[in-house]
Amino acid sequence: MGKILMKGNEAIALAAIKGGVDAFYGYPITPQNEVPEYLSKHMIENGKVFVQAESEVASINMVYGAAGAGVRVMTSSSSPGIALMQEGISYIAGAELPCVIVSVMRGGPGLGNIQPAQGDYYQATRGGGNGDYNLIVYAPESIQETIDVMKSAFDTADYYRNPVMVLVDGLIGQMMEAVDFDRPVEKRDLSLKDWATNGKKNHPGKRNIANSLHLGAEILEDHNKNLKKKYDRIKENEVKYEMINMDNPDYTIVAYGTMARVCRSAIKQLKKKGIEVGMIRPIALWPYPKKAFDEIPSTCKGIMCVEMSMGQMLDDVQISNRGRFDVAFYGRYAGVVPEPEEIVDAIENFEEWRVE
């Protein structure tokens, strides 16, 4: 269909359809409303399921039900709404059901504001719900990359029987760019969902149960051991990142999503000033590209983590750095998107932004 100019949120919706979504359950919240609005029209027109739920709490549990029933299902929300979904996400992870959760981040905490932010890194990567579990989290930097990630997210979720989160900020949701929906994406060999609770007639001879309850410490520990094995496989196979200008950088920036794009412009401006700066750009936030940090040349003078938050991914940067380089942090938050010039300044005054 060639390149078309499209708003990020609508592109997320269309990419979900291209990715084979069967059902959407969601609740209105800015700045992601164009996702359900687009789907409300196009899902129903195509005989698929769209339900506007009474709350985010209900939405995620509708997702649980449909995921258990074996279909491709998603929801979409923004920061406070994702907070409300954490209970359901924990249950879905515990019951090992596949689904896709889109999170369009806004300023927080609390009601915060509706401007772009990255304050939900912990919420996405640390598991806001109870218990030991992980989501596979992608944080694309452009609408095109968001489309590519969305199109393959359902495959990834099905492959691992695990929720996948696509984490963007309000800027990606609200902006328009020319995009191509026909770019090929990775397909996986998927087995039949013989575990689905879709009625015994569909799997004669056994009764399927979607459940996260395992009373008895050893029984739950065995279940969780299996979860851990799966998470280890994901860590082994699903790390996704980009190295930019990393041959011989004076400094290395680490940034994701919109922030990484802003940093790309800063890197160009710095080059004109004779300062070579590279960037590690995690595309998957979980699993985190720890090993990428080993590739930073020892001549590098320091790592600058840049986020639209007070410093959340910074934890993973410090863990991955293992004390090799000095680490600095520059962040704007609460809905403020830093301009490239600010990052140029921050790199030029690296010492000022150093963190212990």
Binding site: L5, Q174, E177, A178, K268, E339, P340
Partner: protein
């Protein structure tokens, strides 16, 4: 062409978003890169609105920019907000129908266009944004009138097809205004 950063600002209802979107659509039509994003707030009507557009022959990195190559303001609050945020040798277009005071900017070529008056003379006050677009295109030559006409037609769609002619007239009137004034911007 070097990357152009464009800021369009005014009251809600002055057609600010449409102005910006048409530029982004035109760039896509010509296979150039573009990016559009709105300032968005809880209010759907009234208040001030602005959007940013970037047009480039190369992949666009940062969606945010400090200073604009082209600044288009439709009212006084927008002028006050964005007058200092312009690049050297840039262009500042303002709506002279609503901004009556003298506009000073050392970095930019400043051009006032009486958009409301020209639109009213055409019999449709709503097309003031297209008057400005005409003036903008005449000065920047960023897109040809043909491309803009094509995307305008698609933008209006079938439901507003009846509005096409008056919008085209407005663009033409804006272009004529610049030509008659003998202003040029390299």
């Amino acid at each position: 062409m070097a990357e152009k950063t464009i800021k369009v600002a005014g009251f809600g209802g002055q057609g600010v978003m449409m102005f910006g979107k048409l530029l982004a659509y035109a760039a896509t039509k010509e296979d150039r890169y573009s990016l559009w994003f709105p300032s968005y707030g809880p209010e759907t009507r009234g208040g001030t609105a602005n959007c940013a557009v970037i047009v480039s022959d190369e992949v666009i990195n940062s969606p945010v920019f400090r200073n604009a190559s082209h600044t288009v303001v439709f009212n006084l609050p927008s002028l006050e907000k964005f007058n200092d945020r312009v690049e050297d040798d840039s262009l500042l277009l303002y709506n002279a129908s609503l901004i009556e005071k003298e506009v000073k900017n050392d970095k930019a070529l400043v051009v006032g266009v009486p958009c409301n008056k020209i639109a009213n003379d055409l019999g449709n006050p709503k097309v003031l944004n297209m008057v400005m677009l005409g003036a903008y295109l005449a000065l920047t030559k960023l897109f040809s009138a043909d491309v803009i006409e094509t995307v305008l037609k698609e933008y209006l769609g079938d439901s507003k097809a009846g509005m096409l002619d008056v919008n085209k007239q407005a663009i033409k009137a804006g272009m004529d205004f610049i030509e008659d004034a003998g202003i040029s911007y390299a």
